[in-house]
Symmetry: C2
Subunit: 216 residues, 2 copies
């Protein structure tokens, strides 16, 4: 599959691009700055990947078959609004965690739509928005020595087929599993839970993720 | 330790009471109706438990050393306001998940304080409120054939010592582990995540829980 990643030059975007290419997908890393995207693509491309990584502008990345949104929450709405035409008819995977930080650490930002994913669906009425990939550590995704994840990826959405496509995409992360975790209106707490994982990382000096028990 | 459970006659309260007594704690099941609490205590008491289960009114349960709040969210604020004096100086463990249900399933209720736990702390300024036990299946807690949980219990609070006491209490659930997961201002998404677990339960016909990866 040809997968676009909007904001693909950030830590999470790079990590997902590397893993998706390693599992055979063609990845279009998008950035506001196509030159920067090209440089990052050249930097993270692995000679032994079965897939390819190409750096392009965000609007070209939005031309892929499936598009992942991996941008800071600041800028999320503006970027998606500007790409509504390109993204029409596609599966758009939102993995944005709207968080703030202050001297006491991370906290969830209030999002008028309820969640970044719901905001994306409002801005992209002709796309099928799925929420996923909120909790997989970017550090581990980018670490070439990590060849196995024990993590589950919570996948939320209204469309069963699109959820299944994204659950399948999760297998690009070796060892990870996609688990359906509800409708988009239940995405807000999944996004916000990233703040708890950051608190866990700080207390236990780790790169935490999560798994769901009882689903085999 | 003597542990009180406000609303201890509900499914989660019964389950926690059974497990706490089995691990040697003395448990005061509280209810608005002390007779009903006595009946439930008699029903769930195990002859081979090392601890005891006693049924009392909620205000007597609030006299325990540590008090768990396990009531429906509707009624949470009124009950805690009425017991502020009894609960002063104590660790109060809030495990309330403010959820609504409609034809599309569960969804998080908006809580003005941010979370049930923060609401509890506002209503109980002289208590140390800790949020915990949101995700352990009441069905499994009450199933005597279940003698091992692979679940983690997310424990949130401002006070390190109180967090440690509650993490220790978690060991009453065989196999479970308490993991510090942030300050109380990050409790809202932990409570709301119960909606996702319910969605998972429905899709996969299971009793889901969660574990944190990367914490050993």
């Amino acid at each position: 599959m040809k997968v676009g990643i909007l904001g693909g030059t950030g830590p999470q975007g790079r990590g997902l691009a590397t893993r998706l290419a390693a599992s055979g997908h063609e990845v279009l890393i998008g950035s506001r700055d196509a030159d920067r995207a090209e440089a990052v693509a050249a930097e993270i491309a692995q000679p032994d990947s079965s897939g390819r990584i190409v750096g392009v502008g965000n609007s070209d990345a939005a031309a892929a078959e499936l598009v992942i949104v991996s941008v800071p929450y600041h800028g999320h709405a503006d970027l998606l609004s500007s790409l509504a035409t390109e993204l029409a008819g596609k599966i758009v995977v939102d993995c944005v965690n709207p968080l703030g930080f202050d001297e006491r650490g991370p906290f969830p930002l209030r999002v008028a739509a309820g969640s970044a994913a719901q905001e994306a669906q409002q801005l992209l009425p002709d796309s099928t928005v799925i929420a996923a990939f909120h909790h997989v550590s970017a550090v581990l995704l980018n670490d070439p020595t990590v060849d196995h994840f024990a993590d589950d990826v919570l996948v939320l959405g209204e469309d069963r087929e699109a959820v299944a496509v994204v659950c399948e995409l999760v297998t690009a992360i070796p060892g990870a599993r996609g688990v359906y975790a509800g409708r988009l209106r239940n995405a807000g707490q999944v996004e916000a839970l990233a703040a708890n994982l950051i608190a866990i990382n700080r207390r236990y000096q780790t790169h935490a993720g999560l798994t769901i028990t009882g689903v085999s």
